[in-house]
Symmetry: C2
Subunit: 692 residues, 2 copies
């Protein structure tokens, strides 16, 4: 295999994020790093080779030789091996292919001729690619040593990114510039950023990307037509080289808008025929097309409800069309009444996904997977885990997270979300008794799902650093790593990311580790308290605005009055939402005595004088946490200041600028929230701090 100029990396001058391949003197002169041999010819192994050549060149200062070695006789090499029946016996024996899933890999030190080779082997080119990125990580973090014996299989089959990119170039809930895919209602012509993007996400194991917004507007509806399919196929081609299947979000009303039919009824034979033909057309352009992502009957999007059909009817029709080609339908469960009357306290948006979908268990085709947001509301800084996880034994499920920080500071605030995601993944649903954590359900380990996994709304745009806030790169990295292996600890992921991104300086590590570890709870502490959520401005969702959604149609209320606040979601005398959980969780949430403090106001309406498990009253907790939150940001700034000179000036300054914005806005949050509740409750802060 010979690389050419198209394999020259990187493709763009954007920030390399964690693929920096900084010069690493400890790697110089290691004989086995001087030569690479390749067994296999897939596009993915070619990408692996290109990455390895580039990375090793950057790190060691010399270009490794790529040798032809059909019989596996070279010694002291890095050997990239994709399984093939024709592989020499010796190589087949070296790699335990029988233990590998389709996307898994092994990395092994193999003593040979008095030296040592490194074997990176996978059943598929994707496996080799993932193994290569793993090897490069080891080199960068200084963990490359003799005697490597690594075998990895991904825990989740689907490891997806959802882009909310529009073809005009805007990104819904994007805080890092414009789309890398679209501009002015066309695909971008310069694909360098798309190529580097594919490298970035493949390096953390992402294997599916939906490139357009789930709210599919007029132009985007045409992505599945001849007008745009050649462009889509080009991007799919880039993705393919990195093992990524391309998905499209589709408009449920396409048969009407594109097909000229008068209906999109999923049981109408013309509609079914239209989608089948459409699938054939798409697969004609993209043989390995991933499938559709669908937001239907949600927030004014069309869907099967128009025709008195169920979500099962709707999704099965699409699934039927995609099935012959191996495509899947990712059907979002974010369905609720978005024209609620704020006066009505019986309707509870939190109940909606479960109420809509649970009764349909068993009615979905095998190539439909339900994509369920981590919580029952909408990506708040704190909410309980969706009770739908584990509630549908016979229906494929996957989890949806949000990397883009819509409600968590919009990449102006530092908010490392891995701790939040870990809490969700480790949440025990008790679906099949103790130990039925969400991570097992969405990995298809609890029930034998045909398709399952994790998806996330991504936070990248065309900003030079991809994510707006440089440190928000950690969220992108962390999501990919957790999707690969949800058992990875927060600490391990954080350590990897810091060392790859900022090098090995111990002080840098300590400061960043502490900032990242604290940031989510710091953000929570100065924003909306105790699980109640929202308190942001309508539309753009940046805060603070305590009553921003209080008298609205969105079903997102805090019900604060002069005595207390919170939403009563109990079975006893509330909306009955707690009954959607398995008994162990239901009982814990049902009583304010056992409900965790951080979720108290999500489940209960309590007086401001209610005493938390912490020993503080609710109102004093609000005051204290809001002062502490601001102090937390002040501490971030002080610690970050201490890194001046230890980090390149550009990134140091960029982060510092964001931290200063965060501090100003944290103070605003603190004062608005404290003042709001002081004015409403009339209860003084015990410590007499300034409240207005």
């Amino acid at each position: 295999m010979t690389l050419d100029k198209n394999d020259k990396l990187p493709y763009s001058d954007a920030d390399p994020c964690w693929l920096r391949y900084t010069k690493n003197e400890s790697l110089e002169g290691i004989p086995r790093l001087a030569k690479i041999t390749v067994h296999g010819s897939s596009e993915q192994i070619r990408s692996a080779l290109a990455e390895l050549v580039y990375g090793m060149t950057e790190m060691t200062g010399s270009v490794p030789e790529t040798a032809e070695d059909p019989n596996g006789l070279e010694a002291n090499v890095v050997r990239l091996v994709q399984f093939d029946e024709a592989l020499p016996e010796r190589l087949r024996e070296l790699a335990p292919f029988h233990d590998l899933h389709e996307e898994g890999y092994v990395i092994r030190s193999v003593p040979e001729n008095g030296g040592e080779s490194i074997l990176v082997a996978g059943k598929s080119g994707k496996g080799v690619l993932y193994g290569t990125f793993h090897l490069l990580r080891l080199m960068q973090t200084g963990d490359l040593r003799s005697g490597l014996q690594i075998l990895e299989n991904p825990r989740n089959g689907l490891r997806m990114m959802n882009h909310w990119d529009n073809m005009d170039g805007s990104i819904e809930r994007g805080y890092a510039g414009q789309s890398i895919f679209f501009k002015d209602n066309e695909f971008v012509r310069d694909q360098a950023r798309i190529r580097d993007y594919a490298r970035l996400v493949a390096s953390v194991g992402i294997n599916g990307v939906a490139i357009n917004n789930v709210n599919v507007h007029k132009t985007e509806t045409q992505l599945i037509t001849s007008r745009f399919l050649p462009d889509v196929a080009e991007v799919a081609g880039i993705f393919r080289r990195y093992g990524i299947a391309l998905f499209l979000s589709v408009n449920y009303a396409s048969p009407i808008e594109l097909g000229g039919l008068d209906t999109a009824d999923p049981l109408d034979s013309r509609v079914r025929a239209w989608w089948k033909e459409k699938a054939a057309e798409i697969y004609g352009h993209i043989p390995d097309f991933g499938g559709f992502v669908v937001k239907a009957d949600s927030e004014h999007r069309p869907g099967p409800f128009t025709y008195n059909r169920t979500h099962a009817d709707g999704s099965n029709m699409l699934a039927e069309a995609l099935a012959p080609y191996g495509g899947i339908v990712v059907w979002r469960c974010f369905v609720y009444n978005c024209l609620q009357d704020w006066r009505d306290r019986t309707t509870d948006r939190a109940r909606a996904a479960y109420d809509h979908f649970k009764p349909l268990d068993g009615q979905f085709k095998q190539n439909v997977v339900l994509q369920i947001k981590n919580g029952p509301m909408d990506f708040q800084v704190r909410e309980p885990v969706s009770p739908l996880f584990g509630a549908m034994p016979e229906t494929n499920q996957m989890a949806e997270f949000q990397i883009t920080q819509e409600y968590t500071g919009q990449q102006k605030h530092l908010c490392y979300l891995v701790p939040q995601w870990k809490e969700v993944l480790d949440f025990d649903t008790f679906a099949r008794g103790k130990g039925t954590e969400v991570k097992k359900i969405v990995a298809g380990e609890t029930y034998p799902y045909a398709h399952s996994g994790m998806a996330a709304v991504i936070n990248v745009g065309d900003d030079p650093n991809w994510t707006g806030h440089t440190l928000a790169q950690a969220n992108l990295y962390g999501f990919g790593r957790l999707a690969w292996n949800p058992d990875l600890s927060e600490e391990a992921i954080t350590a990897e990311w810091i060392r790859l991104t900022f090098g090995k300086d111990e002080k840098v590590y300590q400061v960043l580790r502490s900032m990242l570890a604290e940031s989510w709870r710091v953000y929570e502490s100065y924003t909306s308290p105790l699980g109640i959520g929202w308190m942001v401005n309508p539309g753009h969702h940046y805060g603070p605005n305590v009553d921003g959604y209080e008298y609205s149609v969105w079903g997102t209320y805090h019900y604060a009055d002069c005595r207390g606040m919170g939403v009563n979601r109990t079975v006893k005398d509330g909306t009955g939402y707690t009954a959607q959980y398995y008994p162990e969780n239901m009982e814990r949430y049902e009583s304010p005595e056992t409900c965790p403090d951080e979720l108290l106001l999500f489940f209960h309406h309590v007086p401001y004088t209610h005493t938390l498990h912490s020993g503080k009253t609710v109102i004093q907790h609000i005051y204290d946490s809001h002062f502490e939150g601001v102090e937390g940001v002040e501490a971030f700034i002080e610690r970050w200041q201490g890194l001046e000179g230890r980090i390149d000036a550009k990134r140091h300054a960029q982060v510092m600028e964001r931290l200063r914005i965060q501090l100003a806005h944290a103070r605003e949050w603190r004062d608005v929230v404290n003042t709001y509740f002081f004015r409403k409750s009339g209860i003084e802060d015990r410590h007499g701090r300034p409240i207005y």
Copy 2:
């Protein structure tokens, strides 16, 4: 004088508003309405003739003859006479020209040869035009009778409309479509609407129109350059025929943005020279150009503060440039700190205009006039009268009102503003003792101002009915009539408008009269209570949103807590704002005992249990007024329903549609405001009505 096809009315197919000239059988066969003679040759008298021919033709069903009559010998005619030294002695004696101001007129019945002529005479063509519109009103309302002896002079010299139109076609705070002047950053090519607009506003005596937004953006800055001046001159030509002087809003930073200077310092000789040259250029295109309207140092607009100069320095520099041509500078006093900290209760936006301008009294040139908003804040449904009126004996002042319903229902709600304006005009400032009403000050009767009068932000756009809500036409009509004569009663203006617009049906009159008369107080009753204002959504200013501006930079707060609400603006222990009034008013406002109920929360922070003069507590007043307000709208709908068949179906349906919107939104206002204060105060409604 012979009319040609360019004098054919109307110019457009837009709603004729009050210039309907409905067929009126009582006018048929009156001999003196069969012939018109003209003495004078001005453009304005030509417009008067065209209007009279059109109106009389429509009303009588036959085209009147236009006769040449140089010696004034025709009898039994309508005689339009513009004063001229060469007029025949007989005509000069008939009209008391010595009692007329430049814009005044007489309408007289003159017995002649056994018949009767009608004389419409003015010192100027404008006078004749205004007299002609008056005569046409008499014909339409059925008040044309023998023995007419009318003499009218306008009370206010300046009777202006301010358009907030942008050249992209949008209208800031416009609720009736797009601009009639601009589209896509050019002037509109079809001028029919502009011509009919000129007729409409001239018919109620408007003599000055600023065509562009006081927030002068990039394109509009170029209105005073050769790029647009020929277009401006064309519009000025249309206006001229109706006696209207065209004004432009200008960008204070023009010498920098257009002139390439590095400063706009009003004391810099290059800046002064630039403006002088610019004035010469403008007057080269438009010899009777009215002058500039300027919003400087306000809401991020540039101004003299940048150079440590005063508003007197800034306006005088422009005045100096315009003076040789008779132009004036209309300098807005809407200057305040729009980046206030909501935590700071000492800064008071209400004080700003007085604090900024009062110390400068006597420093302004004679062709500068300060334009002062009716209240100290910003066109709220209720606020006190600006204390700046009457506070500057040596500085020209005029009043600014808002016809467009920014804070009063945005032409979705019926809100007839004549009653509000009457209260302002009749407000006694006590500036020179009892009887120094605002109307006398702005008419230049209290102090001998060289320029003064009334301006208003207009409510028209390119909607077919001009004003969005058909009944909002009454506000446009009413403002013009009040600017002509502020002593006209609300009842008289309303009666005129109804009869001109909807004819003589007594039931129509009674219903409309009552709806218009009640509408402002009804709107007030279901929106923000007791003079506190705001409670709207930021940006678009449509409500309800009680805390919409509470934690903002705009200086517009209600300070509601669990005990009470309101802004303490007293001298005793508040912001000291009351001291800006003359003692009689200051004392009345200073004490909650004497402060009028409807302004209580503007001046005082009181407990919800404070008892009003009405005998109700503040909180019970809030509840009661909000329920009553909605009932008021329900009553409007019922009454309007009763007019079905008595009004053309199109207008009936249009108004009904708006009333239904108003009802839905009034209910939202009621429930949000009541719920907000119930939750905050914890005090139950005495009548146990639904509050949430």
